[in-house]
């Protein structure tokens, strides 16, 4: 995929500018991986958090162990596990999907803790009031619990988005052509790693800062008392 690209290595600045377009392609892959991975993490984490509250000890205990295990082991090894073991069971996914799945899986362990903390922070009286008003379980969650949870969980969930964004370069290890993979290829071709690798860092830095700032803004804009869903 490097064919057809010419790099101007006459000066560091010219080199940096000439690799920008190709790094831009990698950036898109990076952002897509983070987006898919984050979507998986948000949904899977919620499922895990709800299963954790199951009244069956066997289920809640298994889920608790699973999340703890996923949380305490490296993303890279989990990625290798999915990348090499899934095909043994006949599940063949593109590298990108495997990567996004690994990101999603690792971060679902984090998000499930955020959801759980959010639910646990709802005062007992709120549940009792819901019961006293004869609300169904669904109504209680939809109208009472979730609206009060949102302002509490959004900041933590946002921070995990930023963390995940910073972990996407790991996907380059399983042939995903993200920004880092492309920078490495440019480095191999030109024997100059300094410029491409520095560029990747310099592109990540403002992305991370802007994301963090946006999360902070959202956090401040959210009413502390909660957001009604209907």
């Amino acid at each position: 995929m490097m064919y057809g690209y010419e790099w101007d290595t006459s000066s560091a600045l010219a080199f940096a500018l000439s690799i920008l377009p190709i790094l831009g392609i990698g950036l898109l892959v990076t952002l897509q991986a983070a987006a898919v991975g984050y979507a998986i993490a948000l949904v899977l984490g919620l499922v895990l958090a709800l299963l954790r509250r199951s009244r069956y000890k066997a289920i809640s205990w298994t889920v608790a162990c699973f999340t703890e295990f996923v949380r305490d082991t490296p993303l890279l090894v989990q990625l290798f596990f999915l990348y090499y073991v899934l095909p043994d069971f006949g599940i063949v996914l593109p590298a990108f999907m495997t990567g996004a799945l690994a990101l999603g899986l690792q971060y679902s362990a984090y998000t499930s803790e955020v959801y759980r903390g959010g639910i646990n922070a709802i005062q007992r009286g709120q549940w009792e009031a819901a019961t006293a008003l004869n609300l169904t379980r669904l109504q209680t969650y939809r109208d009472i619990v979730v609206p009060q949870m949102i302002p509490r969980i959004v900041p933590a969930l946002g921070n995990y988005l930023v963390s995940m964004l910073k972990e996407t370069p790991v996907l380059s290890v399983v042939t995903v052509l993200d920004m880092l993979a492309l920078a490495n290829m440019i480095g191999e071709r030109t024997f100059d790693y300094l410029v491409p690798l520095s560029m990747v860092g310099l592109i990540f830095l403002p992305m991370v800062l802007i994301c963090s700032a946006l999360i902070h803004l959202v956090e401040r804009a959210l009413p502390k008392s909660g957001i009604p869903l209907r």
């Binding site: 890279l76 972990e167 990540f204």
Partner: protein, 221 residues
Amino acid sequence: MTWTQYLAPLMKGAQITVMISLTSIAFGTVLAFLAGIARTSSNPIISGIAFVYVLLFRGTPLLVQLFWFYYALPLIGVSFDPITTGIMVLSLLTGAFGAEVVRGALMAVPQAQHEAARALNFSKFHTLWHISMPQAIIEMMPAFGNLAVQNLKDTALVSLISIADLTFQAQSLRNITLDSATIYTMTLAGYFIIALGLMLIIRFIEAKLRRGAAFPRSAHS
């Protein structure tokens, strides 16, 4: 090969992983205190340097930092062997995240405590070490525990700069045997056991600190 034959090479890798993790947590903790205290300094140059350091290492991916120190830095004449590079980068990363923990805990010490220290004519140094730090350090422990486990997980990336850690050994074994499921399950279990050990150590230190300063947690009056 059966799974028992994987044990020896994986154990060898695990030793490297534990060594790198413990060393970089130790250096990282020192850096965290230096940079965290520097961030609260009223001298703009000192706090500025600490700010830029924390910003750079918190704002960029670890893998990029690792490759940068391993592939790019030698091009401007600075090169270290892989182990040193790995420990250095992990220490710097842990130090940057730890600095925010230290700063946050120091800032959470109530202003009234600083006023009381000033009224008793304590020096800035005495106030930091004998008034602020003892109250802040216990608040830091849970966050440092998380950072330690994060550090352990991050060490897996040093396998990508040819350090023969647990992940590296797992990769080598898989390339020979293609027995992916067994090898990676064992590897994940290995990391999990090390993580549990790490958490036990942190608990122990926290309990010790708490006993050393036997005041209740919310005693700010």
